[in-house]
Symmetry: C2
């Protein structure tokens, strides 16, 4: 089995269109036939086809691949289903099965798209470059859940081991960047946050060059809106990471451009930050760039194709410089291209 294999999980809504775009670009950048792309079902469509939002074949496919590219899951259509049948449950189980405890979510601003930020120019500043490191396989997402008649509960639990390993990832990231870490918790109220904070402090001792700062989640959410430039690397728990990374991505004004990587000890999973946007599915208007960039990250980190990935990043920059946009990021002037058309442009610039 010499051939490199990428599992492609389109999922729901715009998932099919954007993963198709990404695969087209990746094939083109790599040269045909060096990689096999194999498709698997996940989310609502998997439920519709098999009764399970994460069929066993998909898990097997993923575990036997060198990297996984995911579109997005979910939609109103499946909202009435019991918790474990919902599209999101499929994604959560996949994260857990793969053990991808570390979710990297960069929030950057493309110079050409600065105008799209909802924040005033003096607040967003000249550039923004935040790396959010979110714990992905623990916390309240995976703690014990109970429903007893008229009462329900979810447990937010962390072990020192879980915090240590994600903290280390964050410190390593910081070492390759501006050497600043902000750890986000709610240590004035939560026991799990106190453990989090203590453990981050302990790990910090091995990285004396890195400046560490702790913020409560409520304050961090505010700071993200009034002074985002203060952040370099953020490390936080599963749920706080879900919230803060969404704020970070939206202030860039280009959520349709942002990729993410989920890593652990085995195969890694790459997906755009944005959701499945069922309302614009199959209209050829979705922005495929976050998924294309996710694909490039997959090539860089999981297939060791640094150069080919760089070509993709550069092609995207050139496409933006040339003024091509999709409708979500089109500011005054430009004529937005469709999903397929912008994909074609990127391929031309490769």
């Amino acid at each position: 089995n010499k051939k490199l294999r990428v599992a492609v999980l389109p999922g729901d809504g715009i998932g099919r269109e954007i993963t198709e775009s990404a695969v087209r670009v990746m094939r083109e950048a790599i040269g045909k036939d060096k990689i096999e792309f194999i498709e698997g079902d996940i989310g609502g469509i998997a439920y519709d086809n098999t009764g399970d939002p994460l069929p066993k074949e998909t898990v097997d496919l993923c575990k036997n691949s060198h990297g996984i590219l995911l579109g997005a899951v979910g939609g109103d259509k499946w909202d009435h289903l019991p918790g474990d049948k919902r599209p999101e449950a499929g994604l959560l189980r996949l994260r857990k099965e793969l053990g991808v405890y570390s979710n990297l979510r960069p929030a950057v601003i493309y110079t050409e798209l600065r105008e799209a930020s909802p924040l005033k120019p003096h607040i967003i500043g000249d550039k923004l470059d935040i790396m959010i490191v979110r714990e992905l396989t623990g916390g309240i997402y995976f703690g014990e859940k109970e429903r007893i008649e008229e009462r329900a509960s979810d447990k937010m639990a962390y072990s020192k081991y879980e915090v240590e390993r994600i903290a280390r990832i964050a410190f390593e990231q910081a070492m390759g960047r501006r050497k600043r870490i902000t750890s986000i918790d709610k240590a004035n109220v939560l026991f799990s946050s106190k453990l989090w904070r203590e453990t981050v402090e302990e790990v910090a001792k091995s990285y004396p060059e890195v400046e560490v700062n702790h913020l409560y989640i409520d304050n961090a959410a505010m700071q993200m809106v009034i002074d985002p430039g203060q952040f370099d690397v953020i490390v936080t728990s599963n749920m706080f990471g879900d919230i803060i990374s969404d704020i970070a991505s939206v202030i860039t004004g280009s959520i349709g451009m942002l990729p993410s990587a989920s890593m652990g000890d085995g195969v890694s999973l790459y997906e755009p930050i944005h959701g499945s946007a069922p309302d614009i599915a199959d209209k050829n208007i979705a922005n495929p760039m976050a998924t294309i960039i996710s694909g490039a990250m997959l090539m860089e980190n999981s297939l060791n194709m640094m150069e080919e990935a760089q070509r993709i990043y550069r092609a995207i920059e050139k496409v933006l410089e040339a003024g091509y946009r999709t409708s979500d990021i089109s500011t005054k002037g430009g004529v937005p291209l469709g999903t397929r058309e912008i994909t074609q442009k990127i391929i031309e610039y490769l």
Copy 2:
């Protein structure tokens, strides 16, 4: 015991200055000697004086008052203390002791302060008027907590009863406003959120005129930054309310102007949204207006002094119209006044 009694709990940091201002304005608006203001200790200062961030005398004082005005609690100085000795623990225990399960946090923009918003003018729009109804005595703040060596946990639990009573408060608010409710949860992941959503839907049946919308907390945090005008009344759990209300207050650009009221079946508690800001304490620069407005809310809701409260609201508007500012809200041009000086101005305009 005919005389009306207000408990005043200055707390830490700027707490003393701002509550002093508020009491001055309230006395002036009411006419001397109709009310007695009695001071009690809470937070870090209470810990320093008595070893307990919420001494029994303070609880007794509060329960025997007609309303409670609080400054703010907390500061780095006490961060090393064990969980139950921290200033915040005093505040949480007070909320629980009083049973103030309903926390109303209005986020409004004063026309004169529109420029201070971090959001672009077309996003913040002409006006913003959101009422956040946060559940305050349940959820993960008060669920079972555990710390066993290298593992720690917090339980987020809700009963149907708890959700029902807070939902009813929110729907009543909506009926007196634009009749739109957004309920915020994470029902795609949390059992407690599913119960929350079901229960809100049930309560909604009694308010057919109110339009109800459900958002996940990650999406809600984004929406608050890109389209805050969509919100009228928000109802949410203790922790999500903590986060979303801080974002809402900061996008107004005038967090130093925002009051809050915490109500239940007994005495109500009024306090500014902002924190204790130890870095600017005792410098006569803190903005006392959020606390003064909290005092006016106390008069309106707990002392039945509608007219006197209205005079205070109007005085504050006039002071802003006349161009007087504190440093936190001073935009270009104006000369900021000190805490005492702006208080004096408000008294002049009464």
